[in-house]
Amino acid sequence: MDMNENKTNEKVEETRLPDTKEGKLVKALIGKAPYAEGSVRRERRVEFHVPAERIHDFLELASETFEMLMQISVVDWLKEGEFEVVYQLWSVSEGVHAFVRTRIPREDAKLPTVMDIWPVAETYEREAHEFFGIIFKGNPRLGPFLLEPREYEKHPLRKDFNMLSYVKAIYGDDFDRYDESKTNYVI
Amino acid sequence: MFDWRLILDAIGILIYALIVGFIFMGIERKAMARIQRRIGPPIYQPIIDTLKLLGKKESVSHGFVYNFGPVFALGVSITALLFIPIANFQLFSSNADLIVVAYLLEVPMLGIMLGAMSSGNPYSALGVQRGLLTMVAMQLPYGLAIIALVQHWGTFKLSQLVALQQLQGWSITVPALALAFIVFDIVFQALLGLEPFDIITAPAEISMGPMVEYGGKHAALLFTQHAVQLFAETAFFAVLFFGGASNLLDLFLKQLLVLFIAIFVASIYPRFTIDQAAKFFWKWPTIIGIIAVLLTV
């Protein structure tokens, strides 16, 4: 599908960090990891941009304040040819949510695993691998997880996976029980 | 050679026991349903279930023992039934022995276990394992309760036991035997396979355990067996502790009393795990049983 004509990689405005607990948190972390950019989005939401090579180091640092890895979200920016991987962190002690963003090229989508920092990442990475084909180096259980092998090979959440045509190829005649072709317009 | 009266009596008892056993199963479901605040199935539902299972058009088998298990179980249950003094029909029970009956009441389990095992299903095997361990666990208090009874009345003959009780009062009126009664009642729960000792079937854990592979006529046989067994066990209980009965109505009421206690316990307690059940049986029921036995020596 064609979702990608709008770029959203506008640079986050480098505003001065506010003098709140969030601001202090970001400042402290940036101080330790100068390669990362950090900003405060709103109360209880902070954001970091980290280059992919340093992501493991950064997360290791961040795990001291942000105890929990809530999710690894992947966004497929087809136009830019990049995956944006967002590590959603939550700090139980501070009550702050952090987005740790990194970008990797679609063709060579590889990242180090963070299983050693948060064992739960195993599941998240399996899922991200299954849906986007990102390889997390060091995670031993990558492979079909939720999906059957046939769908797994397609990495269905990639933007270039055309679901409708795939479904029609698989189900063919079964696609619609009744005569009328309801697919002649797309929402 | 043939004593026709005896044979007719036996058939009559069998049919009566079968129907009442099924009704008991129905009552069990119905009463539990009422405690659970719902209406529940009609009281004759188990009969319908069994008929349906028997009427299945297809039947699968895992070999000879798989078929033999349920047949054996039902056969032994019928045998046990015929040795229990049921009201004034004393068929073979005139000289029936308590031990023989107590044994016969346990043997059907072996039949079911044999059949279940032969299917090779791990769930069945787990059910078998649990069933046998439950048996091992409950055997000590069960034996003690029976011993206390025998020690007190000084006879193994069931008919004599009934006669003595009707002369001198029911067993539970004797303090020592009241303790034995408590023990027997706890064991009874396991005999019937009800909570907290329904470890054998535990649907949420091992999906009915030994029953998991059975369907169609095999399951119908097991249901019939369960009905006969339920009747026999409640009657056995009534004979041992409630003085038996002189007529069927009397017996029925006593059986019902026994059954309701079991239903109550079953509907308010969750199930133990098998090792907890073993530990439980070897703790309080055994201690009470020993006290009961020592009081009767």
Binding site: N4 | P122, P270, D275
Partner: protein, 394 residues
Amino acid sequence: MTNPEVPKELREEAKGHDMYLHPIAKDTYELFFGPQHMATENFSIILKMDGNRVEKAIVNPGFLHRGFEKLAEQRPYFTNIALLLRICVPESDVPENIYSMAVDEIVGWEVPERAVWIRTTVLEMARLSAWMFWIMGFGNEIGLYTAGQWAAAYRERFMRLFEELTGGRVYHIYTVPGGVRRDIPGDRWLRQLRDTVEYIKSKMKDFDEILFDNYITFERTEGVGVMDRRFALKHAVTGPNLRATGVPYDVRKDDPYYLYPELDFEVPVLKEGDSLARVLVRRYEMEQDLYILEQLLDMGPPSGPYMVQDARLKALPRFKPPKGDAYAHVESTKGDFGAYVVSNGTHKPYRVHVRGPSQSHGVTVLEELLKGARLADVPVILKTLDNCPPDIDR
């Protein structure tokens, strides 16, 4: 033996990891636990058993995978509500709310007060009905069917209230970005809600007596499936499961949303981290939820519109929020339920990613906790983690 389905390059990488070496052992046996099983709701665990003990558990989810996240990219913003709520079937208002909150944040809508009150109430009702459902599930797993039967019947009262409020029994499709779809049907509904709260409150005693105080419940849960605080944090355990290990983290307190900052309630915390602690924490939360609902009813719904006034809503199928992304999460009975929504300015979301609590509870944590558990503990652990398969699968 290597897994033939894993791509070659991955196999190379994982070499030496025992997961890929498979000696077919005779001393252990395999037990397929689910999906066609009473204790799992279309979810499968493959257990490697030694006697009655689990040696190793492998979770096999995905039976309910429908590709929500892909589907959500194909549908307009509002329509997605009708889709995403299916992620958590017993508590379907939670996905509705997180998605709506995230979209609200992207658009920058200030949800009207009345809608906020309704949303809070709906969430709490959903929590209570989910608790009832959980009691049923837990009761069934440990073999106490009576409590389950009662609980499922009492849950119907909430179903009825939902039905009158939203027009749907299970799938309410009610909370939408910008507010809610319908107004409260009237004071009668509020009275009914209060009656229901009172009723459930009176019935809580029954549940205490038969289930939570029951000797055997304690026996079955004490010391089963123990996790400690550190383990819980590393495995992103949330909700009552986390609180049972001694961490007082509750989204309603720590990242407050809706009316929760104004409400008075307590966060129960135990430090044992076993199944019993999880059960007891849940029980206490039930009481707290009833209390919260009472407070909400005392507060009364503020007057005003129940939907934001926005001209863009005139053409609902074509509604376009600005570019941006947002993460919203709420406290569900199962834990911290979150959604990450990315908008690229078109009328369909660019990416929706849902964070179900069972994703962490139901896979890694479960596999860890099951190691060495008795078979009889498996359903107990499953149920006290309150594992909800659809939210793993999505």
